[in-house]
Assembly symmetry: C2
Amino acid sequence: MRLTEKKLTSILRQRGYRLTPQRRAVLKVIALSSDHLTPAAIYERVRRKHPGIGLVTIYRTLAVLAELGLICEVHAGGSCRSYLMRKPPGHHHHLICSQCGRVVDFSDCDLGGLEQRLARENGFKIEGHLLEFLGLCPACQKSAQA
Amino acid sequence: MRLTEKKLTSILRQRGYRLTPQRRAVLKVIALSSDHLTPAAIYERVRRKHPGIGLVTIYRTLAVLAELGLICEVHAGGSCRSYLMRKPPGHHHHLICSQCGRVVDFSDCDLGGLEQRLARENGFKIEGHLLEFLGLCPACQKSAQA
DNA sequence: CAGGTAAGTGAAAAACGTTTTCATCTACAC
DNA sequence: GTGTAGATGAAAACGTTTTTCACTTACCTG
């Protein structure tokens, strides 16, 4: 499902939000990057085409886009700052390079059995989970050998 | 393995650190709590017995204890602030109540197969993973019904 | 068990990242 | 076009974490 202008407007409108040039620009920057980006990095990139935009607007826009499920957060490894990246389909997870920060998505985590067992043993009603693998990507493995 | 005074000193000394009353107090507070605690919460509790301690020392001590593997961080749900809690044995994960923040540990995650597949498919050398389940604990399920 | 020294401490201030406030502006239903 | 709820940008407030620096102390040496 491509995200046409019209569809985007309707997704926003459904919840009482509007499609502004700023929001379009933020979403575009995130969509065009294959990496996760900090709010500051997004700010910098959006400003190249949109010099007047304020960092505040970035934060507000990220909150809205995340609420609508159009983007999602990454807790990259040790550094706890929440990065953001484009979300392909529904439920998914991350494989993160601990050196260069590159992120790969994967979606089939097969945690259903574990989830059921934990729910039963602890009485929890489980709503979701966060799964991230940390390691070295192929490129960083090579450069580490040198 | 109980953490005797002597053993603790030796763990610290091995890396050039010293065992100060402040460090002992911080570790004790974390060890005695069954919950995860923010740096500020730890500060408050340590101050009850140790009024002169500074928040700076808490942060420095937490960094040292985490580096030594005596404590570990939790990325509780949406809020990304790194909480801390005592670490039982080695590898373990968290089951977090999204309402009251209660944390339950579990250790058998059985992710070996997935890890191998991801490593093979993406060329990553996987070093570790973060797995957290979010949900409602029994108490919060009850209070939600009211 | 004293003495010297590298390591640790506490206070204040700086440096962050993020949120709030408020006056102004604008997307969009009519 | 017009009105208005919603959005924006600048400045300031905020809370958390880090840095700096003078002073103190744990602990190795003899």
